[in-house]
Amino acid sequence: MKKIYPDAGAALDGLLADGMTICAGGFGLCGIPERLIDAIRDSGVTGLTVVSNNAGIDNEGLGKLLRTRQIRKMISSYVGENKEFERQYLAGELEVEFCPQGTLAERCRAGGAGIPGFYTKTGVGTQVAEGKEHKAFDGETYILERGIRADLSIVKGWKADESGNLVFRKTARNFNQPMATAGRICVAEVQEIVPVGSLDPDCIHLPSIYVKRMVLGAPYDKKIEFRTTRQREAA
């Protein structure tokens, strides 16, 4: 079965529908599946629920889908600096479910692992716990959180082999790993596709079983939100 598609639009062909739920990898603008986001924008699909730690910034990442108003609801932990997001949210045009970051990661991991719910201490005694089942284990209170299953996962990897084994790079791994498992189908964009046998099987971050379709997204012009550096001391 050939998993490699010529472009992001082709890789998503037949997978998009109005009102669907999409899990998207990335943290801030680091490791976001930007080619696939562009292709979703170009498809015009609408009424989306997007599960993503962040919502991009204006005109970058998921910010592009907010601008075109294709997103109906976000499930996120931190939406940060995004004027269009703020405007739509305050106007009541966009629904937002805030979910603690670790709970969000685990909800996707659990959903992908066939676990419909789990108990966690995170959020006990806060707004997050309202309406959720509470249960005591060994004298401590926990709340029930639901696993997330999505119609589609979109992720970004660094290297893939032709069979779909994926390797991520540095902190660009982030949510890509749990998000990839939570979708009924996962489409990955990568910087490089190498022949089968080129990657060390002991060093695969995401086994090929999770990756159903792939597209080569390079060349990338990766964005940096906050460029912080230090000076070399004079020799």
Binding site: L29, Y78, F98, T103, K170, R173, N174, E225, T229
Partner: protein
């Protein structure tokens, strides 16, 4: 003289121990990294998926794939490791991180913390703060003693929506340090900034504390 931001961070750094794994919040807590005692091995965790945060990179080493949880570019160390968000929070939630230093808008005398939303203002989200206060072994809050308007921030009950209930172990402000040995005990005033009087702190605090 009240402590300045860096002195507050330096005071928090005195709580570090050799071998600790530590997560630092954004703002003053980040400055703790500059105050790690020489010779002490402390590993910093970044909740976007890294252990062993290095210093800011040199200009020619900036890498968009290498950022901290504040989305700033950073560098790696020979001992660094990378992992996914699910693994990152497994180590946080699972009690494997020894210490976290966080900012706060309010802390109550019972150790509740509020630092993620102000009703009526734009809500940006809690990020990883709720997971950190629920899972890390020791929680230190570093914050100004009073708000810009002069209101106490260490108070009997939080007025803002909580990030965590009965979770804070130590509070370091620009005026003083409060500590409690366990989550059933009241906070005790254990230290004053140089030249700051205990009566002054008392007058600027509405929370009950001992000492």
């Amino acid at each position: 003289m009240p402590w300045d931001r860096n002195q507050m961070a330096a005071r928090a750094a005195q709580e570090l121990r050799d071998g600790y794994y530590v997560n630092l919040g954004i703002g003053i807590p980040t400055l703790v990294a500059n105050n790690i005692p020489a010779g002490m091995e402390v590993t910093l965790q970044s909740e976007n998926g890294m252990l062993g945060i290095g210093p800011f990179p040199y200009e020619d080493e900036v890498d968009p794939d290498l950022i901290n949880a504040g989305k700033q570019t950073i560098s790696e160390l020979p001992s660094s490791s990378y992992f996914g968000s699910e693994q990152s929070f497994a180590m946080i939630r699972g009690g494997h991180i020894d210490l976290t230093v966080l900012g706060a808008m309010e802390v109550s005398e019972k150790g509740d913390i509020a630092n993620w939303m102000i009703p009526g203002k734009m809500v940006k989200g809690m990020g990883g703060a709720m997971d950190l206060v629920a899972g890390v072994k020791k929680i230190i809050v570093v914050m100004e003693h009073n708000s810009k308007g002069g209101d106490p921030k260490f108070i009997p009950e939080c007025t803002l929506p909580l990030t965590g209930k009965n979770v804070v172990d130590m509070i370091i402000t620009d005026l003083a340090v409060f500590h409690r040995p366990d989550h059933a005990s009241p906070f005790r005033l254990i230290e004053l900034a140089p030249g700051v009087g205990a009566e002054d702190v008392r007058a600027k605090t509405t929370a009950h504390y001992e000492g």
